[in-house]
Amino acid sequence: MSETVVTDTVTTSAIKGRDAAMSMAVAEAKERQKIKQKHRKIKNMSLRILANTLMALIVLCPLLYAISVAFMPSGELFTMDMNILPKHPTLVNFAQALVKIPLAKFVINSFLVAGLITIGQIVSCSLAAFSFSFLEYKGKDLLFMLVMATMMVPGEAVIISNYLTVSGLGWLDTYKGLIIPYLTSAMGIFLFRQFYLSFPISLYESAKIDGCSNLRFVLKILIPLTKSAIGAMAVYTFINAWNMYMWPLLVTGSDQMRTVQIGIGMLNSVDAQSISLMIAGVVMIILPSISIFIVGQKQLIRGMFSGAVKG
């Protein structure tokens, strides 16, 4: 660098220095802001988790208490003390419950009934919904309205006439009587129809021109497209069927046909002092519903909402 421009360089370097200091200050401020934001985020997050945990505890209270009771000897339950947790945890209740009633048989019955009802509803509802959304025939709208109208009749209102029908057919105390009346549901038809209506009709028309039959269209195109709806429907139906109480109570009489929900009730009537026994049974049979829900919850949520939010 030549002599003549030294002063110049000095001033410029001074300016540069000031600039550097300023930019450092700016960088620091930015850094502080970043940290502040991060802290706020962490605080918010932990607050949210805390609130959710509290809420979950309150909601789960009865269930947790039931689990705790299941491990209590019955003596501990019938005292004036406030026994929230078992003092002497025991597995006797579980063992007793398994011995006193044929719980395994009941569970098998329940699985069979709930499983067949689920499969039946998915098949019948998806086919009915297909006809309501893609086929053209006279009286279609009227028929659909009729189907929807059945949703407005409470199940209890028709349970006696259903009972009479089933007994007239000689299906009392059989799997047929337990399953067949529940093989379809207006709710399921409605759910599938909403789903199908979100597909353009040209999809069906295109398939028709390609030479595709109706059944093939359902199997090859609709079902792959509605996997999430089917998943949601399956979980929902299975849990409902598993938890059925009134109907199985009416139509079953023997241990051979009882489902778990009725079977557990038997634990109470055999021995009036056996609340803890019954609760042990309940805890055992809740497991299948909960595990199905855990496995299927993603499907359930996606299925319930993907009809509403298109895309």
């Binding site: 040209s202 999809l203 295109s206 398939a207 028709k208 021109i209 390609d210 030479g211 093939r216 792959p224």
Partner: protein, 383 residues
Amino acid sequence: MAEVVLKNVYKTYGENVNVVKDFNLEVKEKEFIVFVGPSGCGKSTTLRMIAGLEEISDGELYLQDEFANFLEPKERNLAFVFQSYALYPTMSVYENIAFSLRVRKVNKDEVDKRVREVAEMLGLTAVLPNRPKDLSGGQKQRVAIGNAIIRNPKLLLMDEPLSNLDAKLRTQMRVELAKIHEKLQNTIIYVTHDQIEAMTLGTRIVVMKDGIIQQVDSPKKLYQNPINRFVASFIGSPSMNFMDGRIQINGDHMYFDVLTKSRFDEKSKFLLPNKVKRALEDRFIRGNEAILGIRPEKFSYKQKSENDQYIDVWVHARELLGSDIYAYFEFQGKQMIASVPADTEVEVDSHVRLYIDLTDACVFDKETEENYMYIDSREEKRA
């Protein structure tokens, strides 16, 4: 052999809403027919009746000389390309194209061979394993076309297949469609509301309005020889200009007397050329009132022949379109367009004398709006 024949076909919704009225058309083998008309005029409905997606309310449909009113869509041996593409979302591009062969249980090797051929032709080879949702609009449209042509159908129906594409892609696909037609040599019926598409693609064009066929002709004939004012204004871009006036006969000469004068108009009488005069002499002109139709390119800033008529107008806007300039002016209270070569000096907000070449002008009846200049080619043949 006629590929498609429609005889007095009607489509009626409800009691008496006629969406298509007395539709008569004979489509020959290897023709590229275009149905064109404004939105809602019944083009799609007619096409869907041919495909069997819509019932025919009245009349007869023949496909390959076979009565086809009640045939199922799949028995009609045709393919359909939908505006919305209608691709199967859960299948790959390969499966989408192959679908109609799979349904027909064609053996695997044959399917594979055909799919690859079609994909090659449509430039889809690279995306065969992809799902439709990963494709661009143009590619989706190609897949839809691939799905339609894989069976090599004798008759291919298309309902506004390009209207979801952007302008550039549309032009490109138009060229490709023309190529596909040339290659496959099948019959195509194509629906569009875009007259440019119709003019560039069709070997014959069916112009429709309110469910009624207006005119069936080649693009060139439609342009030169429109049957009525609707066809004249619908075909051609920018559209034909119309002037209200009166036909006057003065000795040997025939004049068009322009009704209302524009602000700058001094001369309001056009001497009609002999060709127009002869055509008008042949016909009865009700009340002498008529409409004169002039194509935008028949206006010019320079006088080209001494037969040219002229009007004085105020040009208020212009548009440069590469090779042409559109000059916008008002005449008789209506906007009109003159299309002049790009080297013309067109000044905005200026007073200009426009020369008009009336040799190919149309004259329409004021009431029926039919074109007095129209020459029925069937009559022509007979004569």
